[in-house]
Protein backbone atom coordinates (compact mmCIF):
# COMPACT_ATOMS: atom_id res chain seq x y z
CA UNK A 1 0.00 0.00 0.00
CA UNK A 2 2.73 2.43 1.03
CA UNK A 3 4.57 1.67 -2.22
CA UNK A 4 1.49 2.63 -4.25
CA UNK A 5 1.21 5.89 -2.33
CA UNK A 6 4.89 6.59 -3.03
CA UNK A 7 4.38 5.84 -6.71
CA UNK A 8 1.51 8.28 -6.92
CA UNK A 9 3.49 10.86 -4.96
CA UNK A 10 6.37 10.42 -7.44
CA UNK A 11 4.05 11.00 -10.41
CA UNK A 12 2.41 14.05 -8.82
CA UNK A 13 5.73 15.66 -7.83
CA UNK A 14 7.19 14.96 -11.28
CA UNK A 15 4.17 16.44 -13.03
CA UNK A 16 4.28 19.51 -10.77
CA UNK A 17 7.98 20.12 -11.43
CA UNK A 18 7.60 19.58 -15.18
CA UNK A 19 4.63 21.96 -15.31
CA UNK A 20 6.52 24.62 -13.36
CA UNK A 21 9.63 24.42 -15.54
CA UNK A 22 7.62 24.58 -18.78
CA UNK A 23 5.51 27.45 -17.43
CA UNK A 24 8.59 29.40 -16.31
CA UNK A 25 10.39 28.76 -19.61
CA UNK A 26 7.43 30.10 -21.60
CA UNK A 27 6.89 33.03 -19.19
CA UNK A 28 10.57 34.04 -19.35
CA UNK A 29 10.52 33.89 -23.13
CA UNK A 30 7.52 36.23 -23.22
CA UNK A 31 8.74 38.67 -20.57
CA UNK A 32 12.21 39.25 -21.97
CA UNK A 33 13.48 40.14 -25.38
CA UNK A 34 15.12 37.20 -27.17
CA UNK A 35 18.27 39.18 -27.95
CA UNK A 36 18.65 39.97 -24.24
CA UNK A 37 18.34 36.31 -23.23
CA UNK A 38 21.01 35.27 -25.72
CA UNK A 39 23.59 37.97 -25.07
CA UNK A 40 26.01 35.93 -23.00
CA UNK A 41 29.65 35.88 -24.06
CA UNK A 42 31.86 32.94 -23.25
CA UNK A 43 34.98 32.96 -21.16
CA UNK A 44 35.08 36.06 -19.03
CA UNK A 45 37.90 35.34 -16.60
CA UNK A 46 40.82 37.24 -15.20
CA UNK A 47 43.21 35.16 -17.27
CA UNK A 48 41.59 36.28 -20.47
CA UNK A 49 42.56 39.88 -20.05
CA UNK A 50 45.79 39.35 -21.90
CA UNK A 51 46.22 41.01 -25.22
CA UNK A 52 50.00 41.07 -25.11
CA UNK A 53 52.66 38.42 -24.77
CA UNK A 54 52.98 37.38 -21.16
CA UNK A 55 55.13 35.12 -19.06
CA UNK A 56 54.04 31.70 -18.00
CA UNK A 57 52.26 31.73 -14.66
CA UNK A 58 53.29 28.46 -13.15
Amino acid sequence: MIVHILEWAAWIISAGLAAWMIFDTVKTGREYDETFLTTSVEGTDELLDQTTTVGDAR
Partner: protein
Amino acid sequence: MTDIQDRAPTVPPAPPAPPREGLSLSKVLGPIHIWGLGVGIVLVGEYMGWNFAVGKGGMFGALIAAWVVGVLYTCVAMIDSEVTSTVAAAGGQYTQAKHMIGPLMAFNVGLFLVLEYTMLEAADANVMSYLATTVSGQLGYHGSVNQYAFIVLSIMVLAFLNYRGVLATLSINFVITGIAFVAIVVLFFGTHGFNPGSELHFAGLTSSHANGLPYGWLGVFASLQFGMWYYLGIEGTCQAAEECRSAARSIPLGTMTGIITLLIAAALTWFVCAGTLPWQYLGVSITPLFDAALMTGTKYLAVLLAIGTILATLASANGCINDASRAWFSMGRDNYLPAWFGAIHPRYRTPFRSIVFLVPIAIAFAVLPVLLNKPELLGTIITFSILSALLMYSFMVPNMFRFRKLWPIGTLHRGYTHPFHPLPAITLGLIALLVFFATFLGYGTTLVTLVVFYLLASVWFVLFRYRYVARGRQFTMPWPRPKGY
Protein backbone atom coordinates in the same frame (compact mmCIF):
# COMPACT_ATOMS: atom_id res chain seq x y z
CA MET B 1 50.96 52.78 9.13
CA THR B 2 48.40 55.02 10.78
CA ASP B 3 50.57 58.03 9.88
CA ILE B 4 50.65 57.11 6.28
CA GLN B 5 46.91 56.60 6.24
CA ASP B 6 46.38 59.95 7.97
CA ARG B 7 48.58 61.82 5.53
CA ALA B 8 47.20 60.13 2.44
CA PRO B 9 45.00 62.41 0.36
CA THR B 10 41.36 61.60 0.50
CA VAL B 11 40.47 59.66 -2.58
CA PRO B 12 36.84 59.69 -3.56
CA PRO B 13 35.40 56.19 -3.83
CA ALA B 14 35.33 54.79 -7.32
CA PRO B 15 31.93 55.00 -8.95
CA PRO B 16 30.15 51.67 -9.07
CA ALA B 17 30.73 49.64 -12.19
CA PRO B 18 28.01 50.21 -14.74
CA PRO B 19 25.58 47.31 -14.91
CA ARG B 20 26.35 44.82 -17.63
CA GLU B 21 23.97 44.99 -20.48
CA GLY B 22 24.08 41.30 -21.30
CA LEU B 23 23.41 38.17 -19.33
CA SER B 24 26.08 35.77 -18.19
CA LEU B 25 26.27 32.54 -16.23
CA SER B 26 26.82 33.03 -12.50
CA LYS B 27 30.48 33.06 -11.51
CA VAL B 28 30.02 31.51 -8.10
CA LEU B 29 31.88 28.20 -8.09
CA GLY B 30 35.07 27.28 -6.25
CA PRO B 31 37.36 24.23 -6.18
CA ILE B 32 35.06 22.21 -3.91
CA HIS B 33 32.22 22.52 -6.40
CA ILE B 34 34.50 21.39 -9.21
CA TRP B 35 35.57 18.43 -7.09
CA GLY B 36 31.92 17.66 -6.34
CA LEU B 37 31.02 17.83 -10.02
CA GLY B 38 33.90 15.66 -11.30
CA VAL B 39 33.92 13.03 -8.56
CA GLY B 40 30.12 13.13 -8.28
CA ILE B 41 29.64 12.05 -11.89
CA VAL B 42 32.11 9.19 -11.50
CA LEU B 43 31.78 7.73 -8.02
CA VAL B 44 28.71 5.69 -8.92
CA GLY B 45 31.11 3.61 -11.05
CA GLU B 46 32.80 2.43 -7.85
CA TYR B 47 29.45 1.44 -6.37
CA MET B 48 28.43 -0.48 -9.48
CA GLY B 49 29.81 -1.25 -12.91
CA TRP B 50 33.57 -1.60 -12.38
CA ASN B 51 33.00 -5.18 -11.22
CA PHE B 52 31.98 -6.32 -14.72
CA ALA B 53 35.72 -6.08 -15.39
CA VAL B 54 36.07 -8.93 -12.87
CA GLY B 55 33.68 -11.02 -14.94
CA LYS B 56 35.86 -10.47 -18.01
CA GLY B 57 39.33 -10.80 -16.53
CA GLY B 58 39.11 -11.98 -12.93
CA MET B 59 40.27 -10.04 -9.88
CA PHE B 60 43.75 -9.31 -11.21
CA GLY B 61 42.30 -8.38 -14.60
CA ALA B 62 40.11 -5.76 -12.90
CA LEU B 63 43.11 -4.50 -10.90
CA ILE B 64 45.28 -4.13 -14.00
CA ALA B 65 42.37 -2.38 -15.76
CA ALA B 66 42.09 0.02 -12.81
CA TRP B 67 45.79 0.86 -13.13
CA VAL B 68 45.94 1.17 -16.93
CA VAL B 69 42.71 3.15 -17.26
CA GLY B 70 43.79 5.16 -14.20
CA VAL B 71 46.85 6.28 -16.17
CA LEU B 72 44.56 7.24 -19.08
CA TYR B 73 42.39 9.40 -16.84
CA THR B 74 45.35 10.95 -15.04
CA CYS B 75 46.51 12.12 -18.48
CA VAL B 76 42.99 13.39 -19.24
CA ALA B 77 42.91 15.32 -15.95
CA MET B 78 46.36 16.85 -16.53
CA ILE B 79 45.59 17.94 -20.09
CA ASP B 80 42.13 19.28 -19.23
CA SER B 81 43.52 21.16 -16.23
CA GLU B 82 46.01 23.00 -18.39
CA VAL B 83 43.82 23.81 -21.38
CA THR B 84 40.65 24.64 -19.44
CA SER B 85 42.50 26.85 -16.98
CA THR B 86 43.03 29.01 -20.06
CA VAL B 87 39.83 28.42 -22.06
CA ALA B 88 37.44 29.46 -19.28
CA ALA B 89 34.21 28.80 -21.14
CA ALA B 90 31.16 26.58 -20.76
CA GLY B 91 31.31 23.75 -23.24
CA GLY B 92 34.76 22.64 -22.06
CA GLN B 93 36.29 20.41 -24.69
CA TYR B 94 33.84 21.71 -27.31
CA THR B 95 35.20 25.23 -26.86
CA GLN B 96 38.75 23.89 -26.92
CA ALA B 97 38.05 22.18 -30.24
CA LYS B 98 36.54 25.38 -31.62
CA HIS B 99 39.66 27.37 -30.79
CA MET B 100 42.31 24.79 -31.53
CA ILE B 101 41.04 22.73 -34.48
CA GLY B 102 37.89 23.92 -36.25
CA PRO B 103 34.10 24.00 -36.49
CA LEU B 104 33.50 20.42 -37.68
CA MET B 105 35.61 18.96 -34.88
CA ALA B 106 33.93 21.30 -32.41
CA PHE B 107 30.48 20.18 -33.55
CA ASN B 108 31.44 16.53 -33.13
CA VAL B 109 33.07 17.06 -29.75
CA GLY B 110 29.94 18.93 -28.60
CA LEU B 111 27.80 15.96 -29.63
CA PHE B 112 30.19 13.51 -27.92
CA LEU B 113 29.78 15.50 -24.70
CA VAL B 114 26.00 15.75 -24.85
CA LEU B 115 25.60 12.06 -25.67
CA GLU B 116 28.14 10.95 -23.04
CA TYR B 117 26.40 12.79 -20.21
CA THR B 118 22.79 12.30 -21.31
CA MET B 119 23.27 8.55 -21.71
CA LEU B 120 25.00 8.35 -18.33
CA GLU B 121 22.16 10.33 -16.76
CA ALA B 122 19.62 7.94 -18.32
CA ALA B 123 21.54 4.96 -16.96
CA ASP B 124 21.70 6.55 -13.49
CA ALA B 125 17.94 7.15 -13.48
CA ASN B 126 17.35 3.57 -14.57
CA VAL B 127 19.56 2.36 -11.72
CA MET B 128 17.62 4.59 -9.28
CA SER B 129 14.42 2.76 -10.20
CA TYR B 130 16.23 -0.56 -9.63
CA LEU B 131 17.39 0.68 -6.21
CA ALA B 132 13.80 1.71 -5.35
CA THR B 133 12.68 -1.84 -6.15
CA THR B 134 15.54 -3.29 -4.06
CA VAL B 135 14.84 -1.02 -1.08
CA SER B 136 11.12 -1.86 -1.13
CA GLY B 137 12.09 -5.55 -1.22
CA GLN B 138 14.39 -5.08 1.79
CA LEU B 139 11.50 -3.40 3.61
CA GLY B 140 9.34 -6.45 3.09
CA TYR B 141 7.34 -5.45 -0.01
CA HIS B 142 7.54 -8.10 -2.70
CA GLY B 143 4.95 -6.85 -5.18
CA SER B 144 5.75 -5.05 -8.41
CA VAL B 145 7.09 -1.50 -8.22
CA ASN B 146 6.31 0.99 -10.98
CA GLN B 147 9.83 1.78 -12.18
CA TYR B 148 8.69 4.55 -14.54
CA ALA B 149 7.53 6.67 -11.60
CA PHE B 150 10.95 6.65 -9.91
CA ILE B 151 12.90 7.11 -13.17
CA VAL B 152 10.86 10.20 -14.04
CA LEU B 153 10.96 11.53 -10.48
CA SER B 154 14.74 11.36 -10.14
CA ILE B 155 15.31 13.13 -13.47
CA MET B 156 12.66 15.79 -12.76
CA VAL B 157 13.91 16.66 -9.28
CA LEU B 158 17.51 16.98 -10.47
CA ALA B 159 16.53 18.96 -13.57
CA PHE B 160 14.55 21.34 -11.36
CA LEU B 161 17.57 21.76 -9.09
CA ASN B 162 19.77 22.53 -12.10
CA TYR B 163 17.19 24.94 -13.48
CA ARG B 164 17.15 26.99 -10.27
CA GLY B 165 20.86 27.65 -10.01
CA VAL B 166 24.32 26.16 -10.26
CA LEU B 167 25.54 27.05 -6.76
CA ALA B 168 22.91 25.02 -4.90
CA THR B 169 23.16 22.21 -7.47
CA LEU B 170 26.90 21.72 -7.10
CA SER B 171 26.95 22.44 -3.35
CA ILE B 172 24.53 19.55 -2.91
CA ASN B 173 26.67 17.45 -5.24
CA PHE B 174 29.72 18.19 -3.10
CA VAL B 175 27.94 17.09 0.09
CA ILE B 176 26.35 13.89 -1.24
CA THR B 177 29.51 12.90 -3.12
CA GLY B 178 31.53 13.49 0.06
CA ILE B 179 29.20 11.19 2.03
CA ALA B 180 29.41 8.51 -0.67
CA PHE B 181 33.23 8.68 -0.66
CA VAL B 182 33.43 8.59 3.15
CA ALA B 183 31.17 5.50 3.08
CA ILE B 184 33.83 3.65 1.02
CA VAL B 185 36.56 4.71 3.46
CA VAL B 186 34.42 3.60 6.44
CA LEU B 187 33.87 0.22 4.74
CA PHE B 188 37.66 -0.16 4.38
CA PHE B 189 38.18 0.48 8.10
CA GLY B 190 35.05 -1.48 9.05
CA THR B 191 36.45 -4.57 7.33
CA HIS B 192 39.87 -4.00 8.96
CA GLY B 193 41.39 -3.38 5.57
CA PHE B 194 44.51 -2.06 7.27
CA ASN B 195 45.05 -5.56 8.67
CA PRO B 196 44.64 -7.98 5.73
CA GLY B 197 43.87 -11.49 6.84
CA SER B 198 41.70 -10.59 9.82
CA GLU B 199 38.44 -10.01 7.91
CA LEU B 200 39.58 -9.74 4.29
CA HIS B 201 40.90 -12.93 2.75
CA PHE B 202 43.15 -13.00 -0.28
CA ALA B 203 44.55 -16.52 -0.07
CA GLY B 204 42.19 -17.76 -2.79
CA LEU B 205 43.45 -15.13 -5.24
CA THR B 206 47.03 -16.32 -5.20
CA SER B 207 46.45 -20.03 -4.60
CA SER B 208 45.12 -20.75 -8.06
CA HIS B 209 45.72 -19.16 -11.44
CA ALA B 210 42.02 -19.75 -12.23
CA ASN B 211 41.00 -17.42 -9.40
CA GLY B 212 43.25 -14.45 -10.09
CA LEU B 213 43.46 -14.49 -13.90
CA PRO B 214 40.83 -16.99 -15.08
CA TYR B 215 41.00 -15.97 -18.75
CA GLY B 216 44.66 -15.03 -18.92
CA TRP B 217 45.89 -11.86 -20.65
CA LEU B 218 43.02 -11.90 -23.12
CA GLY B 219 40.70 -11.45 -20.13
CA VAL B 220 42.79 -8.54 -18.91
CA PHE B 221 42.45 -6.93 -22.32
CA ALA B 222 38.66 -7.47 -22.30
CA SER B 223 38.33 -5.98 -18.82
CA LEU B 224 39.81 -2.63 -19.94
CA GLN B 225 36.40 -1.54 -21.25
CA PHE B 226 34.82 -1.87 -17.82
CA GLY B 227 37.86 -0.37 -16.13
CA MET B 228 36.53 2.92 -17.55
CA TRP B 229 33.79 2.84 -14.90
CA TYR B 230 36.28 3.66 -12.17
CA TYR B 231 36.87 7.13 -13.62
CA LEU B 232 34.44 7.90 -16.48
CA GLY B 233 33.29 11.53 -16.30
CA ILE B 234 36.08 13.28 -14.39
CA GLU B 235 36.65 15.39 -17.51
CA GLY B 236 33.21 16.90 -16.85
CA THR B 237 34.82 19.45 -14.55
CA CYS B 238 35.65 21.53 -17.65
CA GLN B 239 31.98 22.28 -18.30
CA ALA B 240 31.84 24.49 -15.21
CA ALA B 241 34.79 26.69 -16.19
CA GLU B 242 32.65 29.69 -17.12
CA GLU B 243 30.87 29.58 -13.76
CA CYS B 244 34.02 29.52 -11.60
CA ARG B 245 35.05 32.58 -9.66
CA SER B 246 38.55 31.80 -10.92
CA ALA B 247 38.73 29.05 -13.51
CA ALA B 248 42.52 29.25 -13.49
CA ARG B 249 42.56 28.14 -9.85
CA SER B 250 39.39 26.10 -9.43
CA ILE B 251 39.58 23.85 -12.51
CA PRO B 252 43.11 22.47 -11.94
CA LEU B 253 42.61 22.18 -8.18
CA GLY B 254 39.18 20.54 -8.42
CA THR B 255 40.15 18.23 -11.30
CA MET B 256 43.50 17.04 -9.93
CA THR B 257 42.17 16.44 -6.39
CA GLY B 258 39.22 14.73 -8.08
CA ILE B 259 41.35 12.21 -9.97
CA ILE B 260 43.42 11.57 -6.82
CA THR B 261 40.18 10.89 -4.89
CA LEU B 262 39.04 8.49 -7.60
CA LEU B 263 42.35 6.61 -7.68
CA ILE B 264 42.07 6.13 -3.91
CA ALA B 265 38.40 5.12 -4.17
CA ALA B 266 39.21 2.62 -6.95
CA ALA B 267 42.00 1.04 -4.91
CA LEU B 268 39.87 0.78 -1.75
CA THR B 269 36.89 -0.60 -3.67
CA TRP B 270 38.92 -3.31 -5.41
CA PHE B 271 40.74 -4.22 -2.19
CA VAL B 272 37.65 -4.59 0.00
CA CYS B 273 35.61 -6.44 -2.66
CA ALA B 274 38.49 -8.76 -3.58
CA GLY B 275 38.87 -9.78 0.06
CA THR B 276 35.15 -10.22 0.68
CA LEU B 277 33.43 -11.71 -2.38
CA PRO B 278 34.33 -14.56 -4.77
CA TRP B 279 35.17 -13.33 -8.26
CA GLN B 280 32.47 -15.45 -9.88
CA TYR B 281 29.81 -13.56 -7.91
CA LEU B 282 31.50 -10.18 -8.11
CA GLY B 283 31.60 -10.36 -11.91
CA VAL B 284 27.80 -10.29 -12.16
CA SER B 285 26.85 -8.35 -9.02
CA ILE B 286 24.70 -5.20 -9.51
CA THR B 287 25.78 -3.48 -6.28
CA PRO B 288 29.19 -4.92 -5.32
CA LEU B 289 30.11 -2.49 -2.54
CA PHE B 290 26.72 -2.94 -0.88
CA ASP B 291 27.11 -6.71 -1.18
CA ALA B 292 30.56 -6.49 0.41
CA ALA B 293 29.04 -4.53 3.29
CA LEU B 294 26.30 -7.16 3.68
CA MET B 295 28.97 -9.87 3.86
CA THR B 296 30.51 -8.22 6.92
CA GLY B 297 27.27 -8.89 8.83
CA THR B 298 27.46 -5.41 10.33
CA LYS B 299 24.14 -3.62 10.02
CA TYR B 300 25.47 -0.06 10.14
CA LEU B 301 27.89 -0.79 7.29
CA ALA B 302 25.09 -2.24 5.16
CA VAL B 303 22.87 0.80 5.78
CA LEU B 304 25.75 3.22 5.15
CA LEU B 305 26.70 1.58 1.85
CA ALA B 306 23.04 1.44 0.76
CA ILE B 307 22.81 5.19 1.39
CA GLY B 308 26.16 5.68 -0.37
CA THR B 309 24.88 3.79 -3.43
CA ILE B 310 21.77 5.96 -3.70
CA LEU B 311 23.68 9.22 -3.12
CA ALA B 312 26.40 8.31 -5.63
CA THR B 313 23.74 7.57 -8.26
CA LEU B 314 21.96 10.86 -7.60
CA ALA B 315 25.23 12.82 -7.67
CA SER B 316 26.13 11.28 -10.99
CA ALA B 317 22.80 12.10 -12.64
CA ASN B 318 22.91 15.61 -11.17
CA GLY B 319 26.39 16.31 -12.56
CA CYS B 320 25.42 14.84 -15.93
CA ILE B 321 22.43 17.20 -16.27
CA ASN B 322 24.73 20.10 -15.45
CA ASP B 323 27.36 19.09 -18.01
CA ALA B 324 25.09 18.02 -20.87
CA SER B 325 23.13 21.26 -20.65
CA ARG B 326 26.31 23.40 -20.68
CA ALA B 327 27.60 21.65 -23.80
CA TRP B 328 24.22 22.00 -25.56
CA PHE B 329 23.94 25.63 -24.47
CA SER B 330 27.42 26.49 -25.78
CA MET B 331 26.65 25.01 -29.17
CA GLY B 332 23.44 27.04 -29.29
CA ARG B 333 25.28 30.20 -28.32
CA ASP B 334 27.59 29.83 -31.33
CA ASN B 335 24.70 28.86 -33.65
CA TYR B 336 26.03 25.34 -34.09
CA LEU B 337 22.49 24.53 -32.96
CA PRO B 338 19.48 26.90 -33.00
CA ALA B 339 20.40 30.05 -31.04
CA TRP B 340 17.26 29.55 -28.93
CA PHE B 341 19.26 27.07 -26.82
CA GLY B 342 21.89 29.71 -26.06
CA ALA B 343 19.59 31.62 -23.71
CA ILE B 344 20.36 32.24 -20.05
CA HIS B 345 17.68 32.63 -17.41
CA PRO B 346 17.71 36.26 -16.26
CA ARG B 347 16.97 35.31 -12.66
CA TYR B 348 18.69 31.96 -12.07
CA ARG B 349 21.55 32.50 -14.55
CA THR B 350 21.33 28.97 -15.88
CA PRO B 351 21.00 27.65 -19.46
CA PHE B 352 17.36 26.86 -18.71
CA ARG B 353 16.17 25.95 -22.19
CA SER B 354 18.96 23.43 -22.68
CA ILE B 355 18.18 21.87 -19.30
CA VAL B 356 14.48 21.52 -20.11
CA PHE B 357 15.10 20.29 -23.67
CA LEU B 358 17.35 17.41 -22.59
CA VAL B 359 14.93 16.12 -19.92
CA PRO B 360 12.61 14.12 -22.25
CA ILE B 361 15.60 12.67 -24.11
CA ALA B 362 17.12 11.39 -20.87
CA ILE B 363 13.77 9.99 -19.75
CA ALA B 364 13.23 8.25 -23.10
CA PHE B 365 16.58 6.42 -22.89
CA ALA B 366 16.10 5.66 -19.18
CA VAL B 367 12.72 3.98 -19.64
CA LEU B 368 13.69 2.11 -22.82
CA PRO B 369 15.09 -1.00 -21.07
CA VAL B 370 11.94 -1.18 -18.88
CA LEU B 371 9.53 -0.44 -21.73
CA LEU B 372 10.98 -3.13 -24.02
CA ASN B 373 11.60 -5.46 -21.06
CA LYS B 374 15.23 -5.79 -22.11
CA PRO B 375 17.48 -5.01 -19.11
CA GLU B 376 20.53 -5.69 -21.31
CA LEU B 377 19.75 -2.44 -23.18
CA LEU B 378 21.13 -0.60 -20.14
CA GLY B 379 24.57 -1.96 -21.08
CA THR B 380 24.16 -0.62 -24.63
CA ILE B 381 23.14 2.82 -23.32
CA ILE B 382 26.18 2.93 -21.04
CA THR B 383 28.39 1.78 -23.92
CA PHE B 384 27.07 4.74 -25.96
CA SER B 385 28.32 6.94 -23.14
CA ILE B 386 31.71 5.22 -22.85
CA LEU B 387 32.33 5.27 -26.61
CA SER B 388 31.39 8.93 -26.91
CA ALA B 389 33.84 9.67 -24.11
CA LEU B 390 36.57 7.63 -25.83
CA LEU B 391 36.02 9.52 -29.08
CA MET B 392 36.45 12.75 -27.14
CA TYR B 393 39.67 11.56 -25.49
CA SER B 394 41.03 10.76 -28.96
CA PHE B 395 40.39 14.37 -29.94
CA MET B 396 42.29 15.60 -26.87
CA VAL B 397 45.58 14.26 -28.23
CA PRO B 398 45.88 16.47 -31.36
CA ASN B 399 44.21 19.26 -29.40
CA MET B 400 47.00 19.26 -26.80
CA PHE B 401 49.72 19.21 -29.46
CA ARG B 402 48.15 22.15 -31.27
CA PHE B 403 47.63 24.10 -28.07
CA ARG B 404 51.31 23.87 -27.13
CA LYS B 405 52.37 24.54 -30.72
CA LEU B 406 50.18 27.61 -31.27
CA TRP B 407 50.66 29.07 -27.79
CA PRO B 408 53.95 27.73 -26.40
CA ILE B 409 54.85 28.08 -22.73
CA GLY B 410 55.54 31.71 -22.03
CA THR B 411 53.14 33.18 -24.55
CA LEU B 412 49.93 32.67 -22.58
CA HIS B 413 48.94 32.73 -18.90
CA ARG B 414 48.16 29.22 -17.74
CA GLY B 415 46.55 28.44 -14.39
CA TYR B 416 48.31 25.09 -14.52
CA THR B 417 51.02 23.68 -16.77
CA HIS B 418 51.22 19.92 -16.90
CA PRO B 419 54.66 18.32 -16.83
CA PHE B 420 56.38 15.96 -19.30
CA HIS B 421 54.58 17.14 -22.46
CA PRO B 422 54.12 15.34 -24.89
CA LEU B 423 54.25 12.15 -22.82
CA PRO B 424 50.72 12.48 -21.30
CA ALA B 425 49.16 13.18 -24.71
CA ILE B 426 50.92 10.22 -26.36
CA THR B 427 50.07 7.91 -23.44
CA LEU B 428 46.44 9.03 -23.59
CA GLY B 429 46.28 8.31 -27.32
CA LEU B 430 47.81 4.84 -26.99
CA ILE B 431 45.64 3.70 -24.08
CA ALA B 432 42.49 5.15 -25.69
CA LEU B 433 43.30 3.13 -28.83
CA LEU B 434 43.72 0.00 -26.71
CA VAL B 435 40.39 0.53 -24.93
CA PHE B 436 38.69 1.28 -28.26
CA PHE B 437 39.83 -2.05 -29.62
CA ALA B 438 38.77 -3.86 -26.44
CA THR B 439 35.33 -2.23 -26.66
CA PHE B 440 35.08 -3.09 -30.35
CA LEU B 441 35.53 -6.76 -29.49
CA GLY B 442 32.71 -6.60 -26.95
CA TYR B 443 30.36 -4.07 -28.51
CA GLY B 444 31.41 -3.89 -32.18
CA THR B 445 27.90 -3.23 -33.50
CA THR B 446 27.32 -0.42 -31.01
CA LEU B 447 30.63 1.19 -31.95
CA VAL B 448 29.85 1.03 -35.67
CA THR B 449 26.31 2.38 -35.08
CA LEU B 450 27.69 5.29 -33.11
CA VAL B 451 30.35 6.15 -35.68
CA VAL B 452 27.70 6.08 -38.46
CA PHE B 453 25.51 8.38 -36.34
CA TYR B 454 28.33 10.90 -35.89
CA LEU B 455 29.18 10.73 -39.60
CA LEU B 456 25.56 11.46 -40.57
CA ALA B 457 25.41 14.29 -38.02
CA SER B 458 28.61 15.74 -39.50
CA VAL B 459 27.12 15.63 -43.01
CA TRP B 460 24.01 17.44 -41.70
CA PHE B 461 26.20 20.06 -40.03
CA VAL B 462 28.29 20.74 -43.14
CA LEU B 463 25.34 20.84 -45.56
CA PHE B 464 22.63 22.52 -43.50
CA ARG B 465 23.98 24.11 -40.34
CA TYR B 466 27.42 25.57 -40.94
CA ARG B 467 25.96 28.53 -42.86
CA TYR B 468 24.31 29.72 -39.63
CA VAL B 469 27.41 29.36 -37.43
CA ALA B 470 28.41 32.63 -35.83
CA ARG B 471 31.86 32.83 -37.39
CA GLY B 472 32.73 35.95 -35.41
CA ARG B 473 32.40 33.92 -32.22
CA GLN B 474 34.86 31.22 -33.26
CA PHE B 475 37.78 32.91 -31.53
CA THR B 476 36.45 34.70 -28.50
CA MET B 477 39.56 34.52 -26.31
CA PRO B 478 41.56 37.72 -26.27
CA TRP B 479 44.77 35.76 -26.59
CA PRO B 480 47.94 36.89 -28.31
CA ARG B 481 48.25 35.93 -31.98
CA PRO B 482 49.11 32.22 -32.27
CA LYS B 483 52.65 31.31 -33.22
CA GLY B 484 53.06 31.08 -37.01
CA TYR B 485 49.98 33.21 -37.80
